[in-house]
């Protein structure tokens, strides 16, 4: 039996386990079963018990590490220091980590990579365990879709250790038949990372599914015409149980928040349905959404690039189509 697989659960602003953490735990569990490795979950938080119990729904053993300093210090350095201490105290050092491909997960992975001297594979879209091949030992095989999904790749670690960052919505979280146990855990101090103080936490985000987790995205671009145009898209998103997205043009114009931006310098999404209104489909946007299962585009310009890769392209004035579609969806809902 080789080293364990560790899953680090992430906690949201309310202290609850994130949805992606359950997906990461499920992927790690399948990896552990195939590779014959134990899988342990870890939650580091000021009050870790609730999130640790949620993570134990997916994993047989979860360590809850109470870190009161996280209330006033930036998370990554605190979590990294605690993980390094846990790894130093473990009977056998962990072989693999499965983390969330989120800003916090990337920060943590970058720190752990140099502190534990292990490689990182980012933005995994699938995970399997495979036998030794091509000079790479038996271990995780990580599927990725770089360049906005124009290529599908499979990668592995050259040593028997590594960190994998899993993208949202790639794995369906499946709880265990019998939940695992939570162990409260304290750690010594092995590394002392520089202090980054949290002065204030400002909450502005409106509720609703996050754009990376939504099954349906209703996105608007320059063709929406202004902030008022997004009101109609919000209504459609509400009727479809989805989230509103945007192209950079709409964000740059100040019509909608950067958190909704999809594309090269925004988010990468893979929803079941992507409805694009007034989005031209420039390459910078395309790389963030072209792996959506179904793409429907409405644009007045018959030559818009999005017409080349949309499954359904409606050449029409969206100002008239949006209310008509909302009415049709309302009529269906009865």
């Amino acid at each position: 039996m080789g080293g364990e697989i560790w899953v680090v659960g992430e906690v949201d602003a309310a202290g609850a386990l994130t949805k992606l953490s359950g997906e990461a735990a499920t992927a790690a569990r399948a990896l552990g079963e195939a590779g014959g490795r134990e899988v342990t979950g870890i939650v580091v938080a000021p009050e870790p018990d609730g999130a640790a119990a949620s993570l134990a729904a997916f994993l047989p053993t979860v360590l809850a590490v109470r870190a009161p300093e996280m209330a006033r210090r930036a998370a990554a350095a605190v979590v990294a220091a605690r993980i390094v201490a846990l790894a130093a105290a473990a009977q056998e050092r962990p072989a693999y980590f499965v983390l969330s491909a989120t800003p916090d997960g990337r920060d943590l992975a970058g720190m752990l990579s140099v502190l534990l001297e292990i490689g990182v594979i980012v933005n995994a879209t699938g995970l399997t365990w495979d036998a030794a091949a091509d000079g790479v030992p038996a271990g995780p095989r990580v599927e990725m879709q770089p360049f906005g999904g124009r290529v599908l790749t499979s990668s592995g670690f050259t040593g028997e250790r590594g960190i994998i960052l899993l993208r949202p919505n790639m794995v369906t979280a499946e709880p265990l038949a019998v939940p695992g146990s939570v162990e409260e855990c304290t750690t010594g101090e092995v590394v002392d990372l520089p202090l980054v103080r949290v002065i204030e936490r400002v909450v502005t985000e409106s509720p609703g599914p996050s754009i990376e987790e939504a099954r349906v995205i209703v996105a608007g671009g320059r063709g929406v015409g202004g902030p008022d145009g997004f009101a109609g898209l919000r209504e459609l998103a509400g009727l479809l149980g989805g989230a509103v997205g945007a192209s950079r043009a709409a964000v740059d114009a100040g019509w909608i928040d950067y958190a909704t931006q999809i594309g090269q310098t925004g988010k990468t999404v893979k929803p079941a349905v992507y409805l694009a209104f007034g989005v031209s489909g420039a390459i910078q946007h395309k790389v963030g959404m072209q792996t959506a299962e179904t793409i429907i585009a409405v644009d007045r310009d018959p030559d818009a690039p999005i017409g080349e890769f949309a499954d359904l392209f409606v050449v029409a004035d969206l100002a008239a189509v949006v209310p008509a579609l909302a009415a049709a969806l309302r009529a269906r809902a009865g």
Binding site: P103, E117, F313
Partner: protein
Amino acid sequence: MRIVVLVKPVPDPGEERLGDDGRLDRSVSAVINGNDEYVLEAALKLVEAHGGEVTLLSMAPAGITDPIRKALAMGATRAVLVTDPALAGACSWSTTQVLAAALRTLEYDLVLAGADTSDGGGGVVAAGVATLLGLPYLSHARRIEPFDGGVRVERLSAAGHDVLEATLPAVVVGTQLLGEPRYPSLRGIMGARSKEIAVRTLAEIGLADRPVGGAHATTALLAARRPAPRGSGRVVRDPDPVAAASAIVDFLVERRAL
């Protein structure tokens, strides 16, 4: 204020391809990584407001200097390019070691980096660089504001933003919200021709005997293939609004999305 901006030349987005060896083909036309341009803009504004200079730091193949010249034309003072044949195929762990070693040879108050790179880079390098150098790390910034001896950053969070503070020197990773990058002026382009691009090998940054570079990569690409094409889509031209709505509803039903 002395600022080092980590700048990565990447293939023009949309033009990326893998070579026969499975590595990213870096011979196609290169541009500055999108997120790096935003932090460069932020760095230029900071030195305009507070004085100082901006040094670019890149790790790239020797021939790829056009994007670095463009960044110099935007207003950076000088550039350091770490280049070595041994670095072809380097993994993110190696890249982190290289950039940290190069930074040890420079003087700075602030290191800025872009949130992630469009060539499949994962946005993990800057956190590692900060950790190796023992510097505070502040990421996902939408605003960067220095104060006496320190830096205040507004970091995007899932729920809004956090206000963070740390002492200088520090490493800050920025996003697009820092503001639209400027275009190089004609004068900037002319001036950039005579600006220094100092080229450094692994030996010159003290890494000659360290296990960095392609031969020591921690990760390996095992297979690559093209996804099945989407197939040509259906086009509905100039329908009236009700017909357009029902075309969309029918399609959603057909795809079992309703």
